[in-house]
Amino acid sequence: MSRCDVVIIDYGMGNLLSVRRGLEHCGASVVVTTDPDEILSATRVVLPGVGAFADGMAELRRNGLDVAVRELAGKGTPLLGICLGMQMLLDESEEFGRTLGLGLIPGRVVPVPSVGIDGLRQKIPHIGWNGLVLPEGRKCWGNTLLHAVVPGEAAYFVHSFMASPTSREHSLANCLYGGQPVTAAIGRGNIVGCQFHPEKSGEVGLKILRAFCAS
């Protein structure tokens, strides 16, 4: 059996080593690249990233990678966006003014609610381990990258903005912060995005990376 091949897109945003190590731990053979052709010929692609939305999109465009990502998403290649890489899958972001995203999943990127349902102020950024829960209207995670995750198991988050998908069917998982739902994962066909860091979420995160390697 050949090893799982994963291409990680390197567009200069954030630390790619941890994502690489996490995937390698799951048996993947990993290539980190800036080359659109290499990305387009990949079996699976990870769009990682930490930092500001506008900078991330500018870096993707500067290298012609936005076109490559849209093309591979269109032809059905499994694509996993992590953190900023997940947020960029959406149409646009409100972070520091309006910025257009990749438009692969309808929706926007909005601030994490800074006030809980009890009216108390919440700490921002939302940093730490929070339990993954099924969003309203979703019965289970079967047939998704989260299929091995048990609702309530925690993943590691660190962010101030979050995805707000237009359609409920693209909402895969939430967590609760001050009682308010915060989007944890989104998905549309071959495209999946995690706000949390699977590469930093211990065994729960590794279950998701293993599922991606098997997708």
């Binding site: 941890s18 950024p125 940093i127 929070n130 660190v158």
Partner: protein
């Protein structure tokens, strides 16, 4: 619900974990990667490495440790000690650290906090504040491992580092550090209430009750401890089970 975090702290000197006994005698406590793996297996929510290496020749050893750790431990890693420039931050993050903590350099050059958070994002920048009580309800900031007064009020400084772009504050009570008499609760609460970013309480943990008090009375978002875990008095799991029994949300 967001869990309160328990963070074991490892002091690293020239590539080895050391345990201080009364702050003077340093004993070798083992390989940092092995110890980090052990804490991960016990359910630690993050690991913090404090690089106390004095010799600049040995400074790069921490980079290799972080690299090795990132290949085996899949939880967040924070590194502090000796960070002076944005380049230092980048090197640590590229080696696999998730957050970098700065203390003295933030006081002597506050612009470093702003520049580093602009470059790598606030979520990667932790400012460590070492504070000592002057009069009840007032605390002063110390730098250089607690040897030098910075002439800053701790609460004012906490607000300032938040404005500069820090994503988290690691707060250590100099009065309590090493005493095993519990966190300085009024200090922890004063800082936690003054800022909107998460606060990690440190300094003085001797019992599991102390950890719980840091969260409930001190309103800390996370608690950091070294000796109670290093000397095998309690495992991280025991600490978490205790917090849960007190109604505190933890990841178990």
């Amino acid at each position: 619900m967001l869990a309160k975090r328990i963070i074991p702290c490892l002091d690293v000197n020239a590539g080895r974990v050391v345990k201080g006994v009364n702050f003077v005698e340093l004993r070798d406590a083992g390989d940092p990667v092995e110890i980090a793996q052990r804490y991960d297996a016990q359910g630690a929510d993050e690991i913090t490495f404090l690089d106390i290496t004095a010799s600049s020749d040995d400074r790069d050893l921490i980079l290799h440790i972080i690299e090795a750790c990132a290949a085996k431990v899949f939880i967040p890693l924070t590194v502090g000690g000796g960070v002076r420039k944005v380049e230092d931050v980048r090197r640590l993050l590229n080696a696999g650290a998730d957050k970098v903590s700065m203390n003295t350099a933030a006081v002597t050059n506050p612009q470093l906090v702003a520049d580093a958070s602009a470059k790598v994002g606030s979520q990667c920048i932790v400012v460590a504040i070492d504070a000592k009580q002057t009069v009840p309800g007032k605390w002063e900031v110390f730098t250089h491992g607690g040897r030098k007064s910075a002439g800053l009020d701790a609460v004012d400084w906490a607000r300032q580092v938040q404005a500069l772009g820090a994503g988290e504050i690691l707060l250590t009570s100099m009065d309590r550090d090493g005493t095993k008499s519990g966190f300085d609760i009024p200090l922890t609460r004063a800082i936690a209430d003054a800022v909107s970013i998460p606060v990690i309480a440190s300094g003085g943990v001797g019992t599991l009750e102390h950890l719980a008090a840091g969260v409930t009375e001190g309103r800390a978002d996370a608690v950091l401890a070294a000796s109670i875990f290093h000397f095998g008095e309690y495992s991280v799991r025991e600490a978490k089970e205790y917090l849960r029994s007190k109604g505190i949300e933890v990841r178990l």
